[in-house]
């Protein structure tokens, strides 16, 4: 039965173009290997089990679910098992780092899990996803009502008392295969520490989103990507940010800045999605708007 399902999967997969996300590519590659070895057709259950395991491996990238941004990244999203840094360029300071974007990525991670074949097995067992999403540092915690319900139940909020324990908590969380995503408000750390984090992340497959102070943007670090985010003034009645990809390991940056906003519809109230707006350079319009309002 299982073999038959896999066969039909394979028929679909063999037609895939190389632009498809990594997970499906490895899956088809896995099947190809098995076919050349001739074990799938023999009904060898061990081989099928191994294949099942390879399917259930975590997805290898974390998507924004926006093609403009995802396609600019070499893995078709944020690489899993690596660290990514976010710098919130607040013009006046004393504002916590960005929170909406990590929340969105956490949601994308959990949605990817629910869409994967492994989740069906887990959900028949326990119901809850078998991993946590750790938020380290109180200033990185989003308000719980801004988190969708199915994500909230697997969120773990950690509030370390000092910087030393913050670093310890980030590392412990990164070492654990049970934590899928670590979102941490990170103090100023040297290159060696980021390298240490990267190695931990690589070993366990955990992804880290470090929210760092904008002053540290040009400090050396071993993160896979660096993003900076700044609020944008606009005439729209919703928050608008400019998202810049400052650095991406192994990726070219043709157009690395976007104007983004978050939106949710009344039909699906718990869904918040990212939308990329066309670059707005119409400053005249804004001036006009201001004049109209406060003139």
């Amino acid at each position: 039965m299982k073999t038959l399902e896999l066969y039909s999967d394979y028929n679909e997969l063999s037609n895939l173009s190389p632009e498809q996300p990594c997970r499906t590519r490895t899956l088809s590659k896995g099947i190809n290997d098995l076919i050349t070895e001739g074990i799938v057709w023999n009904g060898n259950y061990r081989a099928v089990d191994n294949l099942w395991e390879s399917c259930s491996k975590p997805v290898e990238s974390l998507q924004f679910n926006v093609p403009e941004i995802d396609n600019a990244l070499p893995q078709g999203g944020l690489q899993c098992g690596a660290i990514h840094e976010f710098y919130y360029q607040d013009p006046t300071g004393n504002v916590p780092s960005t929170i909406a974007l990590p929340t969105l990525l956490a949601r994308s991670a959990i949605d990817a899990y629910y869409a994967s074949p492994a989740s069906a097995w887990d959900r028949t067992n326990s119901g809850a996803p078998p991993f946590f999403i750790a938020w380290i540092g109180r200033r990185s915690w989003p308000t719980p009502f801004a988190i969708p319900q199915h994500l909230l139940s697997s969120c773990l909020f950690i509030d370390p008392p000092d910087e030393k324990l913050t670093l310890w908590a980030i590392e412990t969380a990164l070492r654990s295969p049970l934590i899928k995503l670590v979102i941490a408000e990170c103090p100023r750390i040297p290159l060696i520490t980021t390298r240490r984090f990267s190695l931990c992340a690589k070993a366990s497959g955990t992804t880290a989103l470090l929210l760092r102070a904008p002053q540290d943007l040009h400090m050396p670090s071993s993160s896979a990507t660096k993003w900076s985010l700044a609020p944008l003034t606009s005439s729209h009645l919703f928050p608008l940010w400019s998202l810049t990809l400052e650095r991406s390991k192994g990726g070219a940056l043709p157009n690395s800045s976007w104007t983004i906003t978050l939106e949710s519809s009344y039909e699906e109230r718990e869904t918040v999605s990212l939308r990329v707006l066309p670059r707005m350079v119409d400053t005249d319009y804004e001036e006009k708007f201001k004049a109209q309002r406060f003139g």
């Binding site: 089990d49 099942w52 078998p130 773990l156 003034t233």
Partner: protein, 468 residues
């Protein structure tokens, strides 16, 4: 007699409220102390039933007694009268004592015997003659049954014993027959025994005192192993460990290990405690090391997985517990939190943090706040609303200028007001003090969106959150 009347008779008498639960607990402790006389010491079944069903106040005071099974133990104390005298001494002469071949007979004689000295019956033949002059209530039957017996003129056990048993069962209920037969020893009776609560602690005194760090660490690990062995052999696990190190200068180093979930696993606990013990400073000479396990729970044996070949990535709940314990011991239980949504419109009350993952049953935002999308609430809420200075047009225009934390922000756009009124249906209506708030979503000239509100009673402005 009413209390004021009684106080009038004996002024200055010590009065305390009747607290059956406390009495019951005290009696249990006393029964545990009686374990020195025999391995089986019991309390009346009625007390256990009353305690579990919460009907202890209706339980008759006669049931507050201790039953000791002394089968085979009397020869340790000489003969049986000497044994009774022993128990009499133990209670300092305040207890009414009877020794009988059946529980029912001993119960009746101890409660209803006239003489103060201990009554001792040795054989079952004596039981009938000893019980027959006693009232029927001595049979531990409910009050309505004894009233029924009284109606037909049966007041003594002797009268009841003369009747054929099947007619008793038919007319007065099966229970009367049971109790009668139990008293006479025709029917078995089980004793509800008490158990000593087991303490899980180990300590070791060192002579000569320990000085080297290596030997201290080895000793601590060995003691932890010993405590866990105790726990494991009793199928228990503990949630809290306390380590105390006493040195020769009589100063104590204490370290607590509050776990997020109970454990009895040596390897798991050692992975958690080892880094902490590594970081501890020992100075001077250690005289004694003591470890106590508290918050004992029954351990459950769980099947780890059905088929090991399938899906190795499925994490064990055990692994989850280990992860939580690692965090909990290092940074404290109160700093490791899970969130839960509450049914409230007031922003800071609409969620709460808990430190136990199991107790959380949360509703979805969709159910709780029906007419909002997620995005209409700020992604970051300040821990407490912060006071700001504003310039705004009355009655309900958004502010055009904000001073927050000493910084002046010019407001470009504003949406609002959205009024959030106190929840009149809430139980703590008096605490609310009318915190009607008018919320505005404003954009400053840098493009940040802030969530500010005006308190309707004081007309002061506060910043509550932001979209970041």
């Amino acid at each position: 007699m009413a209390l004021p009347l009684a106080l009038a008779f004996s002024p200055g008498a010590y009065v305390e409220n009747f607290d059956p639960i406390r009495d019951c607990r005290a009696l249990y402790k006393l029964a545990v102390k009686c374990l020195r006389f025999s391995p089986f010491v019991g309390l009346d079944n009625e007390l256990f039933v009353g305690r579990s069903q919460g009907t202890l106040e209706e339980t008759r005071p006669l049931h507050y007694g201790i039953t000791i099974d002394l089968t085979g133990t009397d020869r340790l104390h000489g003969d049986i009268d000497a044994f009774a005298a022993h128990i009499q001494d133990f209670f300092k002469g305040t207890a009414a004592i009877a020794i009988a071949p059946t529980i029912g007979a001993a119960w009746a004689l101890s409660r209803f015997s006239v003489s103060g000295a201990p009554r001792t019956l040795l054989t079952r033949i004596d039981v009938e003659s000893a019980l027959s002059p006693l009232p029927v209530t001595a049979l531990r039957i409910p009050e309505n049954a004894s009233a029924l017996l009284k109606d037909v003129g049966i007041t003594r056990i002797g009268d009841l014993a003369r009747l054929p048993r099947y007619t008793i069962a038919q007319r007065f209920g099966k229970f009367v027959t049971y109790r009668l037969e139990q008293a006479f020893g025709d029917l078995e009776e089980r004793l509800h025994t008490v158990e000593e609560t087991k303490r899980y602690n180990t300590s070791r005194i060192f002579e000569p005192p320990l000085t080297s760090r290596k030997s201290i660490v080895i000793a601590i690990n060995a003691l932890f192993k010993a405590v866990l062995q105790q726990l494991k052999s009793n199928k228990r696990c503990a949630k809290y460990f306390h380590l105390a190190l006493y040195d020769t200068q009589k100063s104590v180093i204490c370290r607590e290990f509050p776990l997020a979930s109970a454990t009895d696993d040596v390897t798991h606990l050692s992975t958690i405690i080892e880094p902490i013990i590594d970081g501890m400073h020992f100075s001077g000479e250690l005289r004694e090391i003591a470890i106590t396990a508290r918050q004992i729970e029954a351990s459950r044996s769980e099947q780890t997985r059905l088929s090991p070949s399938l899906h190795k990535d499925a994490p064990d709940s055990r692994e989850k517990k280990e992860l939580l314990n690692t965090f909990s011991v290092r940074i404290g239980k109160e700093r490791l939190l899970f969130a839960k949504l509450n049914q409230s419109y007031i922003p800071e009350r609409s969620f709460s943090y808990h430190n136990a993952p199991d107790t959380i049953t949360s509703h979805s935002v969709h159910e709780l706040i029906p007419h909002y999308t997620l995005h209409e609430r700020p992604s970051y809420l300040l821990p407490t609303p912060e006071k700001i200075h504003t310039i705004s047009m009355l009655p309900d225009k958004p502010p055009s200028f904000i001073q927050w934390r000493g910084k002046k922000l010019k407001v470009v756009t504003g949406i609002g007001p959205e009024r959030i009124a106190p929840e009149w249906w809430g139980s703590s209506l008096a605490q609310e003090e009318g915190v009607t708030r008018d919320y505005f979503k404003v954009q400053d000239e840098c493009g940040r969106w802030l969530w500010v509100y005006r308190d309707q009673t004081t007309q002061l402005w506060f910043l509550h959150g932001m979209w970041v």
